[in-house]
Symmetry: C2
Subunit: 324 residues, 2 copies
């Protein structure tokens, strides 16, 4: 699907699966194995946020809250401060999270911790916004504290929504990096779910209205969905408000195209994120929502790769048979 | 070649090529495409150091110097201080390097820079030891300052050694991350070169004696070849002095097995380092030089992978048909 060139030769190659579905859930285009079962990882965060809105628990939430619920954020101050406020507004705190701590991806945030001699906390976890949403749903459902357990009411609600929007019965789940269950679907199931988000309208049912709010929140706040320098943020900015996109670990990427009423899902089989970013850029260009010459697109696909001294070493490009 | 499992399902898969050659240069075993052309990247550093010793320019160098010449180091103080002394002993300094600067991989070293408000310098470049060796050879050859240019006497000497030990004419080169030319060979050519290192003896010619010095230096100083926590360092320690191993960017890995007089080379086609580390562990276990139950082996192949909260999420294992 994606090739890394160095000098006059392909150095590395990434294989993958990609599917585009329309509003009816039908497959419009596909590459690789459309029926491959995958863990959607963080690309499922919009689905995981549906019960929060459908239940009414999140009726008062702002677009900023919703963008954070769908985010794999950098742990910059704009992310951690907002999640901290959200928790405080619920009368909860960092210790109620069950996502675990890791160093923030944002280098300024990490350097600030180093200079202060502080360790990262659970707010820095890239999934802390999703977990704040889980906690808000949990307050509504009156569930126990261990909201990431697969048989907890929060996760049962997520599974119900997940199976409904993918149109598939999940054959199982894995434990995600943030400890929540991550349910299995096919690449087609995930693309079908994204197409449902794309086609949803405010005149629809509670689920459709939740989908509209979530996709709009992501497009309004690309800076909250990931962070500076990241593909989700830079590509959404480059597309204006024409698409909501989301990465997932192990090289999953999804896109919601409301104007086209299309959903896209892809998985690079080796889990290489550079390739999933290049592949989603290729499909967004093909769909007419991303300019191939935009710096944010070039940084993921086709643009020059430079080494430590600024010398050109190569570039990433779509493999023969894949658009781009 | 290598599979990442999560829960009850394979999440990601890495394909690769691997070759084992004997002292005669014959292929003993292979997986994937043994004739695939590759950039050996930093796995060629032992070859790039041959002219330094064969020419007599490095006659007085210690095993520490030679381990650093073959290293992709972490930029910890033990690495940068030693390279700085080596340069000073030649009457040269950091500004004579042509490798460029990047943040040290060693987190203590990086944190020290952050706290001091300092930027990394070329000494922190993981290739600075190799470049110190280039500069020492250059002093002997009386070449110009731009020793990384492909037609410079230093790189012409490297190419001559490279083609001799791989037994192949390089069809071209790419510019490496450190700006030096990186010549193309096949996986078999690289394995043949490593077998020559394995079979070399002190009673041989200047090239053979150089090979012995380099492989012994790497086995004596695993801490200088990479650094704490890194695969080269931890696996060499785990094997005692039974093998010299070296990683290269984009998922190349090589091994020199002197007792078996065997050389190993492998390349993961997608460039995923976790898979090249797992694959070399599998082949070292199969060769009888690495204990599959050793923590350093388990950390690369077969051992549990935990998430941010310490929960088991999966493991890496050899795919069917690949040893391990």
């Amino acid at each position: 699907m994606i090739e890394l060139w160095r000098g006059e030769m392909v150095e590395s190659v990434h294989a993958g699966h990609a599917v585009i579905c329309d509003a009816s859930g039908a497959v419009v285009d596909s590459w690789g194995d459309a029926d491959a079962p995958i863990y959607p990882r963080s690309s499922a965060k919009m689905i995981q946020a549906l019960p929060l809105l459908e239940s009414g628990a999140g009726a008062e939430l702002t677009p900023q809250h919703l963008a954070l619920a769908c985010a794999s954020h950098q742990g910059a101050a704009i992310h951690t401060d907002a999640v901290a406020r959200w928790l405080a507004d619920m009368g909860l705190g960092e210790s109620d999270l069950r996502c675990g701590a890791h160093d923030p991806y944002d280098s300024d945030s990490r350097d600030t911790l180093v200079r202060a001699g502080d360790a990262p906390c659970q707010l820095h976890n890239n999934c802390s916004g999703k977990h704040a949403g889980f906690l808000m749903l949990n307050r509504h459902l009156r569930g126990g504290a261990e909201y990431v357990e697969a048989d907890h009411p929060v996760q049962r609600a997520v599974l119900e929504a997940f199976e409904a929007v993918t149109g598939e019965t999940a054959p199982g789940y894995g434990i995600d990096g943030c400890s929540a269950p991550n349910f299995i679907t096919t690449v087609t199931g995930l693309a079908r779910a994204m197409a449902a988000f794309a086609a949803a309208s405010d005149s629809g049912d509670a689920r459709a209205r939740a989908m509209v709010r979530l996709r709009e929140a992501m497009m309004l706040h690309p800076e909250l969905v990931a962070g500076e320098g990241r593909a989700c943020t830079e590509l959404m900015r480059a597309m204006g408000q024409q698409a909501a996109i989301k990465t997932g670990a192990e090289a999953v990427f999804v896109a919601i195209l409301p104007q086209q009423r299309l959903g896209i899902a892809l998985k690079i089989v080796d889990g290489g994120t550079r390739a999933s970013e290049a592949a989603i850029a290729a499909l967004l260009i093909r769909a007419g929502v991303l300019d191939a010459g935009h710096p944010a697109a070039q940084a993921r696909l086709g643009g020059p790769i430079h080494n430590r001294r600024g010398l050109l070493t190569g570039y990433l490009r779509a493999a023969p048979g894949f658009p781009g």
